[in-house]
Every structure is written in C-alpha cells, then in structure tokens.
C-alpha cells in the first residue's frame, strides 16, 4: 500500500479556494485503501484546508470575503518581513487549519453529496504541496 502521496499545485495570484477533491481521491484509490482514515495536510503557513460546498462558486467567494472581513489586510501587523497580505494570510491559515482527517469507506472519501475539499490559498501565486496519508482500519 502506498501510504503517502504528495499533490503539487500552482495557485493563482491573490486569494483562492481550489478544489482538490479529485487529486486527494485519486491518491486514496492509488493507495489501495478500502477502509480507514485519510489525513490531508498542507505544510504551509499562508494556505490552509477547508471542506465546503463545491456546488456554487459563490459559496467559495463568500468564504473568501468573510475571512477577509475577519482579517483585513492592514498595515499594523507585527509580522512585516513579507507583505501585509502575507501577514494576513498567516492569521487566516490559523482559522482554517492546516490538516483534515477524512473517513475512507469502500475505497472512497466519505464526503457529503456537495462537500468538496479545498485548498485555501491566502497569498498566491505559489507552488503548494498537499500531503495525503492513508491509514487502514486495524
């Protein structure tokens, strides 16, 4: 069983929510796991993970704009080594989190009908990695 897969992707400029469900599902299928847990982890500090509806693109836009409202790009962040957008991205990443545990059943991610797994990019464009690790039920 292939236990660890790295998904690589290039993100567009600025903020975005990128649907990575298919890539993660493909990693699960490739692993041969039938029943167990899939841990998805993003090893970055200005990009996180969310699960939400992929049916209507406006939902992703709402999530982006609400996160922006909660953490506006401003000039008085303590972290000024990079840009204000970068500093805001660090805070937004703590809100979304960097990892998710998903149930695998019948060789498939047990997601709801409209649920999609999304990489939340807060300071693109960047080259990002998503680590997918599978663990079989004992």
């Amino acid at each position: 069983m292939k236990r660890l897969t790295t998904v690589r992707l290039e993100t567009p400029p600025g903020e975005s929510l990128l649907n990575i469900t298919d890539q993660v599902q493909a990693a699960v299928v490739e692993s041969g796991l039938a029943e167990g847990i899939c841990v998805v982890f993003v090893p970055h500090t200005t990009a996180g993970l969310v699960i939400n509806s992929g049916s209507d693109p406006a939902t992703a836009a709402d999530i982006r704009s609400e996160l922006k409202r909660l953490v506006p790009t401003r000039v008085d962040f303590h972290h000024t080594y990079d840009t204000p957008a970068d500093a805001a991205g660090h805070v937004k990443t703590t809100l979304t989190g960097s990892s998710l545990s998903l149930i695998v059943s019948g060789g498939q991610l047990a997601l709801g009908r409209s649920q999609r797994l999304m990489l939340a990019e807060f300071d693109g464009p960047r080259e990002r990695q998503v680590l997918v690790r599978v663990m079989a039920d004992p």
């Binding site: 962040f77 000024t80 840009t83 464009p125």
Partner: protein, 391 residues
C-alpha cells in the same frame, strides 16, 4: 587571483563573491527596515547622493519605477538640498521618501539633503556603509551594508568599485521590497526579481572573464589617448558617469560621462578625432540609438568600444573594439554588470601609465581640500529670492 600591483582590479574580481555575500544580508535588512506602513504610504521617491552614490541613484531610477511602481527622481545632493527640497509636493506624512546614499556616511551635502528632507516632512532613509555616521544619525531609518573594503597596500587609496555595487544592490532590493509590499509585485514576481538580482553574481563573473584581458590590452594599445568619453542611455547613463569617474580617479585623465542622445548633440563636434569613445548598452531601449551613434562616431574617426552583450552583433560590427557584457541581464539590472568593463579599463590605464590613484598629494590637492565632508551646510531650507516676488 590577486593582483598585488593593482588593488582596483582585485576589487573588480571580487564582485561576484561580494554580490553572493551581500544579497541575503541586505535583503534581510531592507525587509526589516522598511515596514508596511512606510511602503504603502510612499507616493514618490527621491534618491540622492554625490559622486558614485549619485550614479547609483541614477542607475536605479528605472528599477524603482518598474519594480516599486512609484515615480522616482534621482538627484545630486546639491540639487536636492538647495533647489528641490523646498518644493516637495505636500501630500502628507511619508508620501515623499528620500533615500540618501553615502558610502562613508560623512558626506556633508547628502547629510544636509536628508536633514532638510526630514524638516519637509519626508520619510528619510540613509543607505550607507557606515551604520555609525552623520548620515545615519540624520535619517529616520538606516540601511547599512557595512562590509569592510578589501585590504590595500599601505598608503594606497583605491577608487571604489565594491561600494558602488553595494549601493546599487541595496537600491534594487529596496525597489523590490516596496513593490512587493504595495502589491505591485506578487510573491512569485518579487521572489523571481530577487533571484535575478542574485544571479547578477554569475553574470558579473562571466563579464569579468570576458573583459579582464581585453581591458588590459586596450589600455596598452591606446596608451596615447589623453581623454575618454563614455556614453550610455537610461540606467546606463549612470554607468557612463561611473566609468568616467573611475578613469578620473584612476589615472587622472580627462573623462566625460554622457547620455547617448546628448553625445550626438555635443561630443560629435569635439575636435580631436580619435578620442576613445565607449558606448555602453544592455541592448535595451537605447540600442537603436546606440547603433546610430556608433556609426556617427566611427565616421568622424572615433575609436569606438562597444560595451554591450555579446549577442548585440550589430553594434560589435561597427565598433573598433568590444568589451562584452554577459548575455541575459535585464536592462533594469544591467548597471551592476555594465560598470565592470569601465572599471577594469580605468584600473589598467592607471597601471600602464604608472599613475598613482587619486594623484599623489601635493599641488594643492591635500586631503580635505575639496571639503566634501566639511562643506558648509544649511540647517534649514532657504527660500530663493525670486525676482517675481519683489515688490
């Protein structure tokens, strides 16, 4: 490889390693010094200094306007302090950012420029090799690169090449920093620009390899010449001024730095036909004009040296000689590399003539005579007496 007889050549040969050493430390300093509020407040920049520092400012104008996305005016310190600072646009705190460049940090006119800029409400940054200096004390913010000069034989004062490069490098990294914080460059673009700037070390290495022997040969062949002209356009107008400065400092020959277009309006009429004329181009916006000037210069008997990338064959075919620059250097960054051939030529010219750098003391040229550091300075801006205001 050291050249014990010529510490100026040693400086040039050390440049690739110097870029690699300085780049990460300077980038770190620039990021920590220029905070978000300042970068986002800036509407326009003024970069001021004297001598090589003024040339570095001139050479950075295109980079600031391209990378930082802000209009930028390079000015000599006298022009800024005595004729411009009283007329800065009153657009609010930190909207005017003035960068004063001085390697020693002790130059009177540049210190005066920053003092008056602060009084005018501008943000002020001292870019210097000396963190403890008058300039640093005068400015609100200090970006100090502080690398020691190469060792020199006792009693020898060598024309500076490394410090010019340090000033240029810092100005480029400042431009990237401001552009990135302002969102003019995204993270990927800013990262690529910083990588390209670091890669200038490789381009400098290639340029030195291509020019070192050729510059020495040229200095020997054209030993008879007594005056030199260097012309360049855009950022390499600064290179022309810097190259001429190194000849003046190195061998003491009369040397002029000229804008490429202005050469056609002025030096074209100079009497002496065979004056060595170095035409400097990165093969950018000024290339077509440089080729026209080369053709005209050859037609009137000038000895023309093409200081240009090897790939610019049209210019090489016209020129008498070539001091090739490495290919692949963006025009905005080219002054860092284009300064190398002129500096090498100046160093070898002094060596071939047996002329001490900066002339031996005497004949009224005693240290301090020019009063670069002790010049009378203004404590506040003085409004010029304008004939139109007279009642």
């Amino acid at each position: 490889m050291n050249s014990p007889m010529n510490p100026m050549v040693d400086q040039v040969r050390s440049l690739p390693g110097f870029i690699r050493e300085l780049h990460p430390a300077l980038d770190d300093t620039v990021r920590k010094t220029l905070d978000h509020k300042l970068c986002l407040s800036v509407k326009r920049l003024y970069v001021t200094g004297c001598g090589d520092s003024h040339h570095a400012a001139l050479g950075s104008e295109l980079a600031f306007e391209t990378l930082a996305g802000r209009p930028t005016e390079p000015m000599s310190a006298l022009q800024f302090a005595r004729y411009a600072v009283g007329y800065l646009p009153a657009t609010g705190p930190d909207t005017n950012l003035v960068i004063g460049v001085s390697v020693s940090g002790e130059v009177a006119r540049t210190t005066e420029a920053l003092r008056l800029a602060r009084q005018a409400g501008a943000g002020t940054v001292a870019l210097t090799g000396a963190a403890q200096s008058r300039l640093a004390e005068t400015a609100e913010l200090v970006i100090a690169w502080g690398a020691p000069p190469l060792p020199e034989p006792t009693g020898v004062h060598t024309p500076r090449v490394r410090s010019y490069l340090a000033s240029q490098l810092a100005l480029l990294l400042i431009a990237v920093r401001i552009g990135e914080v302002r969102g003019h460059l995204d993270w990927a673009a800013a990262t690529a620009q910083r990588r390209d700037i670091l890669a200038l070390a490789d381009r400098a290495e290639q340029t030195i390899a291509a020019c070192d022997r050729a510059a020495r040969t040229l200095a020997e062949e054209w030993r008879d010449a007594s005056e030199f002209v260097f012309a360049g356009g855009g950022p390499n107008y600064a290179t022309a001024l810097f190259s001429a400065a190194k000849v003046l400092e190195g061998s003491g020959d009369s040397a002029v730095g000229q804008d490429m277009e202005e050469w056609a309006h002025l030096q074209f009429f100079a009497r002496a036909p065979a004056t060595p004329t170095f035409l400097i181009t990165a093969g950018g916006q000024d290339l077509s004009r440089t080729i026209e000037v080369a053709t005209a210069a050859r037609a009137i008997g000038r000895r023309v040296v093409a200081v240009a990338p090897a790939s610019v064959s049209a210019l090489r075919e016209i020129a008498s000689r070539t001091l090739p620059l490495a290919d692949g250097v963006p025009e905005i960054f080219s002054p860092l590399v284009a300064a190398i051939p002129g500096a090498l030529f100046a160093a070898y010219r002094a060596e071939v003539l047996g002329e001490p750098f900066f002339r031996a003391p005497g004949g009224g040229r005693e240290p301090g005579q020019s009063r670069v550091r002790t010049s009378e300075t203004w404590d506040q801006w003085r409004v010029p007496v304008d004939r139109l205001d007279r009642r």
